[in-house]
Each structure stands twice: as structure tokens, then as C-alpha cells.
Symmetry: C2
Subunit: 348 residues, 2 copies
Amino acid sequence: MLFFIGLGLHGAKGIPLIGLDIAKKAEKVYLDVYTSPITKDEIDSLKDLIGNEIVRVGRDFIEDGLEIINQAKQKDVALIASGDPMVATTHLDLRLRAEKYGIKTHVIHNSSILCALPGETGLHAYNFGKTVTLMKSGLTPSSTVYEVIHENLIRGLHTIILLEYDYSTGFFLKPNEALKSLLNMERDFRQGIFDDETFVIVTSRIGSNSQLLHGGKIGSLIDKDYSEPPHAIIVPGKLHFTEIDALKTLLKIDEDQITDNSSKVKSLAVSMVKRYAMNTRKALSKAREKSEAEKKNFDDLFENIECYISDAERFLNMGKFELAILSIGYAEGLLDSLRFIKELEIEW
Amino acid sequence: MLFFIGLGLHGAKGIPLIGLDIAKKAEKVYLDVYTSPITKDEIDSLKDLIGNEIVRVGRDFIEDGLEIINQAKQKDVALIASGDPMVATTHLDLRLRAEKYGIKTHVIHNSSILCALPGETGLHAYNFGKTVTLMKSGLTPSSTVYEVIHENLIRGLHTIILLEYDYSTGFFLKPNEALKSLLNMERDFRQGIFDDETFVIVTSRIGSNSQLLHGGKIGSLIDKDYSEPPHAIIVPGKLHFTEIDALKTLLKIDEDQITDNSSKVKSLAVSMVKRYAMNTRKALSKAREKSEAEKKNFDDLFENIECYISDAERFLNMGKFELAILSIGYAEGLLDSLRFIKELEIEW
């Protein structure tokens, strides 16, 4: 049988009793030292607690997995990992392969940074959208990172950005480099998400004794040194007043530093319809003057154009963005047609 | 000082060693018995483990919180709760009030169902969108539940639906009633999300020894008895092939039962643009014939209409939905204008 035991976020003593019992009885105990950092001292404490030999294993060993699988066919094997063991896809993959060989598997879950962050910031777990990882190496295209944050913000949701950390080389993406990279993305994608005034939270070493949370405008956080990993950045969306209260209390942030990133990032639809409605109204008014001067009668058409502009605005207020855009496009087309058939030269 | 200690999902022995140490040393230990179920046996085991008196407390006591806060001013108090202690807003609220009184607080995190579900199903943690709770009592409007699932599906994301559970009365929303309620929502909101063929996963008692996961079409799951709570339902979105593999292996589902709910729920924009493009093309072709018959020359206009229909389709393929809708609306307006100014009677 193959057991996966989560260490959670609180070091060696984060191990649940049930996991400790399994590890004590297991005939072979492995410790994953590559998906998350673990100090020599923590490993020693863990050995003392378990009183069993612990074999430290890295990425290759787990990805290959054959030795673990072969042993688990005969005896009880435990693989201990930081956080929740199933958040890492290599562990899930190993589990699936074992199950396919008919080996029973059992998971002792524990906390991961993804679950602990809402609690530590006071942001509601329900208000988080999809999570993204920011890699320095460009493995996740910045368009994906930006798009996920944008879509979350439009829906009023918070985004957790995990920062790249390569345990084998010790490389980690520093939060201030990550913030710079977010500002660079803004230059490329221009949806108005990030500038120096954007409110973000930088979290460091969540669950450890040196845990730190810094909340504030990007401009005030971009030059700080956040020391050792792991780090994550949160881009909050729409904030409930209880969330604002929690941020003030737990992160000691002044209320004037906390801004609503969602309201700033209006959806493309909203800004589009507002702009087009204004322009079409202006052009319609000029068209009316011109047709009067040229003694042409397009009253029926003009009335329809006016109705469709109003429809667009009504749909926008109802949150029916697609119908709003369709209506304003239609109104514009009705008017522009006169130009194409050379009935009226309208200036836009 | 006030400590919050998570029990996680694995019963009394799910307590992390660090939490056990704190509870042993604390001068007062409370156990929250209302945000999550805990059996008499589990409470007895916990007492044995901690060797300290444990006071069971319910909702009113924690919401009031004054006794805990007053004690924590003088001495170390521990509040033990199932799952991750900070997922419940009453605990977060208590923590904030304590901090405002200058009382230091410390959280020992643990797993919650929200973190464990990706691991137990093999669905990737990154592919989950916003979570919703389904209440029988109608406290969450079904339009909200439906809208969250719809928006997640359009983005290809999975949704966890937590089912109402009132620990004080023992009431819980049964998964089959929840599935019926989803089908009812479909009747009201008609975006094509739910029917008997929709693929969902019903999860029961995750982390306990009687944990069960059932995956399949709603039609085949709606009459089952899922026994004791807690339950949750997952509505998967777009599935990666490794996720399909995991579902087959861990949940023993036949591949033909697994369908992509996201592809079924095309966004309104996609279906709208496709339909309008087809209709506008048809009307344009009739308009061409008619203008030829009536010896009128609208070639310039017709060419523009054609271009804008193509533009709409091109934007659609690029995922630029707003621009696609705007273009098709514009094309339609260009053509319809001829009708309003009585230059050409076009049939649509």
C-alpha cells in the first residue's frame, strides 16, 4: 500500500497524528524534498518524531517512481510531502500509476498555501477565482497570467499568483521582480489592471514562524526585500467591508491604501458601449442637421437609431453586455449606411 | 493568546502535532461542534490525546465570543475546529475581534474539503473557478448558483458546489435533491448547462473512512442514496486528458460517461455571432438580387457588409467576442438601413 502524507505549512510538527502513525509503521518512508523547501533541522525533527529511517528523494526519483511502486506492491510505503501532497501533479501522477498496478493508495491531506491564504488575509475563500503561477522563465505566457487576473477582476474575484520556485537549484522569483513583471504586462496588454497605485498583497513563508504579509500599492511594495521563499502575491478584486476590516486588522494597512481593483478594470464591454453610444449620438445629431439642410427625410431611420442607442445603454445597465454591444453596433451601422450609399456625408 | 487549531478531514487524529502541543499546554480548550460534524467517539479520542478538559461550544457561544476573548486576555486559549479553522467566517470574525483587543492570535491550518477535492478527484487545483454553496432554504438565490457555474464553464473551469449542512439541527441537503434543484434551475435560466446527460461528481464524507466519490451523468446519479453528510458536488468544466485519466482510475468511471460540460455551454457571444452572421449573409444575398432587379447600385455598401460579417467571424475565432458582436451588429445595421429609408424591402 502507498500512503501520501501531507506535512502542511507548519514544519515537521505540522504532521497530523494519523500521518505520524502511518509513517512509524511503514516499512519504507520517503520524504519529498523538491516540491517544497524543508530545512535540515526540520528533517532531523521529523526523523526523531517518526523514529524510522527517512529517505530524501528528489524530482527524478518521484517522476520515475518505479522503485516506490515496486516496493508498494509488497509492503507499506509512505511518501511525506510539504503542504497537501496532492497539489503537486507528480504526486497525483504517482498515485494514478500505483492504482493502475492495483496498489491501494491513501492520502492524508493537509493545508496548502492555496487554502491558508484566505484565512491569513481575511479575504473570503469564496471570492477567489482561478489561481495562476508566474514563472521568470516564461513557461507560463504573460498573456495567460494577465488574462486570468483580468477575467477574475471583471467578475470581482481575487487572484492568487504563485511565484516560481525551483527547489533543486534554489532559484525563486522575487516578489519585487514579479511586481515589475506585472507592470510590464500592463504595457503590453493595456486593460488598466496594473500601475503604481494598484493594491496588492505580498505573502511570504505562510505558516512558518517568519510568515509575513505586506499589503499596499505596488509603488510602495516594489522596492522591498521579502527574503526567503516561498512567496505569493494576491491581487484582490471587489472587497466586502468585512474583508477591508480584516486587511486593516491583520495586515495593519491604512484604509486609504486599500483600493478596489475590480471597479478600475471595467469590462471591455462597458467601456466600449459607453464610448460608442456617445459617439453615435454625436454623429446622429450632425446627421439630423445635415439632412435638414439638404432637405432629406430620414426621420424613420433616425428614430430607430436613437432607440437602439437607448437599448444599448439599457442592456448595459442590466448587465446584458452582449446585447448592449450588438445594439450599439447595429445603431452605428444604420447611420453609417447613409455614407456608403452616398445619401449623407456624416462626420464621426 | 488565542490559538485556532484545525483538525482537518481525518477525525481526531487529523490534529497536527504542533496543534496537539498547543492544546495540551493551553489553559482552556474549546471545541467547535457546529461548523462541522464530529462524533462522540472522535471527541473522546481527542480528549484522550490532549489530556486536557475540552469544552464543546456551539454557534451562539462563538458568535458572542466574549467569554473566549476575556479569557484570552489573561491566558492561552485554544479553539479546535474541523477542517481549516479560518474557512468559517465566525472564526475569522472572532480572530479579528481578539486582535482588536490587542490579543495575539495564531492559526494552525489544516486541510479543508476545498483543498482536498482536487487531490481526491485528480482534477487540477488550477482549473477550479469560484465555489458556490447550494442551500435548500434559498438563502443563496439559485440565479447566483447558476450564474457562477455558467461563468466558470464558459472559462473552462470546474465548480465545487458545497451543500447546505446545519449541524445544530442535523439538516443537510441531500445530493439527489441538489441535483434535482440544478435541473430546476436549468428550466428557469436555460443556458444549456444541466440535463440528465450532464457529467457531475458527487463527493461524500471526504477524508473519513467512509469517503465516497461517484462520477457520472446526472440521470444515473439522481436516484442514489449518498448517506451521511458532508457532501459536495463538482461540475467539471473542460477536462485535460490527465484529468480524464485520473477520473477513470480513481473514480472507476467509464470514459464514455465523462463529457465536457464547457463545450456544451458555448458562450452567448459565440452562438449569437454565428446565428447573426448566417442570417445577415442570407439577407445580403437577397438584397443583392433585389437591388439588381430594381436596378439600384449599392455595391459599395454590400461590399462593406460582407467585410464586416467576415470581420465578425474572424474576431470570434480569435476569442475577441466583444469585437465580433460589434461587427456583426454593425453589418446588420448597414443592411437594415435600406429598409428604414425605404430604398430596398429586404426580407430577413
